[in-house]
């Protein structure tokens, strides 16, 4: 396999001389170069992220000060907030689209799309993706789906507002909620295109990882980033088609009179003809994707964190094989735990028992990963680059959010916290904030690789990090209390329940933290865009890392390496490895040995 890859590589190198001139359109727009596509993914993801986070600020303000009119509501929401008073239907639309955008457009495409594209070819030593064309199509489908989603915000009756899980019948019947009209149609169209994009991307990642590894790059020498992206892509290919089928059936129920999910409904004064369908079926189909989806979001972040942590600790990642095994275990288990979202959906209680069992099983590989990260920084020489700070914070939020998962995964305990703010706090910490930290760590770490050697400003990075780290806990830690007080999610206001009056000031605190944290992201945006043009140009390998991408040309060229593709002789974690006599590092004075350096005589060979 590797030999074949090498042949290809040599061919490729031969016709390297006659570069054809790139026009603006082929270079920046319809580019087939994985580095450019990754930047396209990132910037589109950031743009969508701005929309998603702004929405969350708006609805947090509504929750904190439900009676107060805000001019800002009128500015952003127009006719849905006349006089600055937010309409209940637009509140639901905001939470729905916030969820959709953050989960799919930011944390799936923005994270996995960006870094799989950037790092898979560079870290395995390939000239590009297996199919540059499919890769381009994948991005442009993602772009179209983003455009459709943004357009849906402007339709007459409002965007989809049945929650990001779009459970029918609410999402199927325009009589049930205004957002289930044209807004919902556009939502489904957007998601269908998104799934096509995701599948094309994932197939490409899988094929590239399997076929285009450079000579010597065995699977057990892959950096953990690649393992994570590879397995993520497999999960995506397994689960996304199921969501597509659910979306198609929902489209049929909505537009063509079928009854997959509808039965015995009396709404707006009349009985519908639909008979025999089941909303529970939709829940099964949705969560068969929906749960793996959270691992699609978190695994790439885990990979990035493992890599950034090892590099900045100047230590090998602890327990490489266990890390790979736990990724595999998580991937496998992730496909058989979806029912823990449905303990009180009306499905057979016996199934609830089974899903409790598998769900708590998944805590085991997760725990192994957390312990391994902690051991990785133990006795390290920690370089506190911004990416490293985000990685450490990732481990913290992953642990905190993961632990509350033990409560939610336990069917008996889930009964009383299901769909309350406890759930919101849990998943925002464990997959929202954690994945965002992974994304940010990746951006800070690989920024020089994306923008030809330029580095982001570290002091702005530190400001960004510390405010975000404090703010994120300030938002989501108190939220557990709101949930355990029994407050359901997706309530436009809680003032109809005097019982919840004493939660008002917690909600104010949460909202203040949310506003501060959102404001801190402006620092990041400034740093990011400013550094693209004016960032200082650092050394070729600024973080003294072992992986192959730092041996590639700083300037972006088609094919990544100007000369032949480097061969690989070791795993990617030979940091601070001592020579046989333990007198100095293997390479005297240098605490890292890049993967393309052949084994030295004075070093012990490991199993990698």
């Amino acid at each position: 396999m590797s030999a074949h890859a090498e042949d290809l590589a040599v061919d490729h190198h031969d016709d390297h001389g006659h570069h054809h001139e790139q026009t603006f359109i082929t270079k920046y727009i319809f580019s087939t170069d994985h580095k450019m596509i990754s930047k396209q993914y990132l910037i589109t993801g950031i743009f969508m992220g701005i929309i998603g986070i702004l929405m969350s600020v708006l609805f947090r303000m509504q929750i904190a000060w439900p009676e107060e009119p805000f001019t800002i509501f009128e500015i952003f929401l127009g006719k849905w907030a006349e006089g600055g008073v937010m309409d209940p239907s637009v509140y639901l639309a905001l939470v729905t689209i916030h969820g959709t955008i953050m989960v799919f457009f930011v944390l799936t495409a923005g994270l996995s799309g960006t870094f799989s594209n950037l790092l898979i070819p560079l870290q395995i030593g390939a000239r590009d993706m297996a199919s540059g064309f499919l890769n381009m199509v994948s991005y442009w489908l993602f772009f179209i789906s983003s455009v459709v989603m943004v357009c849906s915000l402007f339709v007459e009756a409002g965007p989809a507002s049945a929650g990001w899980t779009v459970y029918p019948p609410l999402s199927a019947l325009p009589q049930a909620i205004p957002g289930s009209g044209a807004g919902m149609t556009l939502w489904l169209v957007s998601l269908a295109i998104f799934i096509a994009s995701s599948l094309l991307g994932s197939l490409n990642y899988i094929v590239t990882t399997l076929n285009l590894r450079t000579k010597g790059m065995s699977m057990t020498r892959l950096p953990l980033t690649i393992w994570a992206f590879f397995i993520t892509a497999i999960i995506g290919v397994v689960s996304f088609p199921v969501l597509l089928s659910a979306a198609l059936m929902l489209i049929m129920d909505r537009s063509f009179g079928t009854s997959f999910f509808l039965s015995d409904i009396y709404i707006a004064g009349e009985v519908l003809h639909n008979q025999g369908g089941s909303p529970v079926l939709f829940e099964h189909l949705f969560w068969f994707l929906g749960h793996p989806e959270v691992y699609i979001v978190i695994l790439p972040a885990m990979g990035i964190v493992s890599e950034v942590m090892a590099t900045n600790s100047r230590k090998p990642i602890f327990g490489y094989r266990a890390m790979v095994a736990s990724i595999l275990a998580i991937a496998f288990l992730s496909t058989i735990v979806w029912g823990h979202h449905m303990f009180v959906s009306g499905m057979n209680p016996f199934l609830g028992s089974v899903f409790t069992f598998t769900t708590l099983l998944i805590a085991i590989p997760s725990a192994v990963k957390a312990f391994n990260w902690i051991t990785t920084i133990w006795k390290g020489n920690l370089q506190m680059n911004t990416a490293m700070l985000f990685s450490i914070a990732f481990v913290s939020t992953f642990i905190t959010g993961g632990l509350t998962g033990i409560i939610l995964g336990d069917s008996a305990l889930d009964i009383n916290v299901h769909d309350t703010y406890f759930v919101i706090a849990h998943f925002h910490l464990v997959m929202g904030i954690s994945a965002v930290y992974g994304l940010l760590a990746g951006v800070y770490h690989w920024f020089p690789k994306m923008f030809e050697g330029r580095l982001m400003n570290k002091n702005l990075g530190y400001i960004h990090f510390w405010i975000t780290a404090i703010g994120a806990y300030g938002i989501f830690f108190p939220m557990h209390f709101v949930g355990m007080a029994g407050l359901p999610r997706r309530y436009y206001t809680n003032t109809n329940f005097p019982y919840f009056d004493d939660l008002a000031d917690i909600n104010v605190v949460i909202t203040i933290f949310a506003i501060i944290t959102a404001a801190a992201q402006v620092v990041f945006l400034y740093n990011f865009f400013h550094s693209i043009f004016y960032g200082k140009i650092g050394p070729k390998n600024p973080w003294k890392s072992n992986t192959l991408e730092w041996t590639a040309e700083v300037k972006h060229i088609h094919g990544n390496w100007d000369g032949p593709i480097p061969h690989v002789y070791r795993w990617s974690y030979d940091y601070s490895k001592l020579n046989k006599d333990e007198t100095d590092y293997v390479i005297p004075g240098q605490d890292y040995i890049p993967q393309n350096i052949p084994l030295k005589e004075n070093e012990e060979e490991l199993n990698h």
């Binding site: 909303p279 002091n459 206001t493």
Partner: protein, 354 residues
Amino acid sequence: MTAFLVVLVIILFGVAVWQMTKIFEMSKTKQTDTGEIASDKDNKVNGYLMVMFLVFLYALAIICFWKWGDVLLPKAGSEHGSQIDNLMLISMILIFFVGILTHWLLFGFAFKYRGEKGKKAVFYADNDKLEFIWTIIPVVVLAGLIIYGLFTWTDIMNVSEEDDPLVVELYAYQFDWRARYGGDDNTLGEANVRLIEGVNQLGVDGSDPNAQDDIVVNELHLPVGRKVLFKMRSQDVLHSAYMPHFRAQMNCVPGMITQFAFTPTITTEEMRQDEAVVDKVKRINEIRRENSKELAKKGEAPLEPYEFDYLLLCNKICGINHYNMQMKIIVESQEDYEAWLAEQPNMAEVLKDQ
């Protein structure tokens, strides 16, 4: 208190900004190419900030418990509820133990091993024994939790007919609830949305003999100490019958009948006397008085004083008024319950009047 919290937030924010500007100044002098890569100074400052962050996290947890520990739900009003609360307590203690420990290690190491020029990291790639230990510990602990959890779950969800439970239908529609009692025969008559007409809001089949004595109400009364089996139905979209004080919840699904059973153990009156509830009600009424003053300034009517009642809420997004879909639940003695029920018209009477 809000003001205090706002001030606290501002102070924390201020501290963060102050620290940041310090870092900013510290590293401003260098203008070399490696200027954006963490220097020893950065490592040191951020190392210390890591410890401060650990303190912040512990403080946040303590402040939350101290300030808001009392907003949590009062003791469970149902038999199985105390089982759930026990399991919750055990899980919480475990979670806090693990969380405190791992965070101490994580941020402690981040501080202790902050980078310095010339310092050597230890090449430590594997230790099978260690990894075995921290695989097996979660396995054992989780096995315990799973077994305890599953027994509790099965216990709650498996309703035996021998208990002779009181059968009550909970009927959800946009945006309200109805309850239907089986009447003297404790059996619910057939019902279907296709039969909804006029006063027959639940679509009860008037020709079904079991339906004649059914009683439809919009306030749920339950006798204390008797098992109640709820049969949930929905008329239009998904709803979820959530009764937090009884640790009970089940979705209402159009096209199917779902169920949940529990035994109420504390009457509404007794619960109102409960110390935690008395405190909570007092606190809420203080808040409401404060808010009423604000309203009075604007010339609006003051808020009603609050009295504790058990609640049934909708906990599945169901439409625009999802946030206000509630029903009062009253748990009372068997006699009071029977007296109340006797006053309610049954289905035969209602349909005859039509």
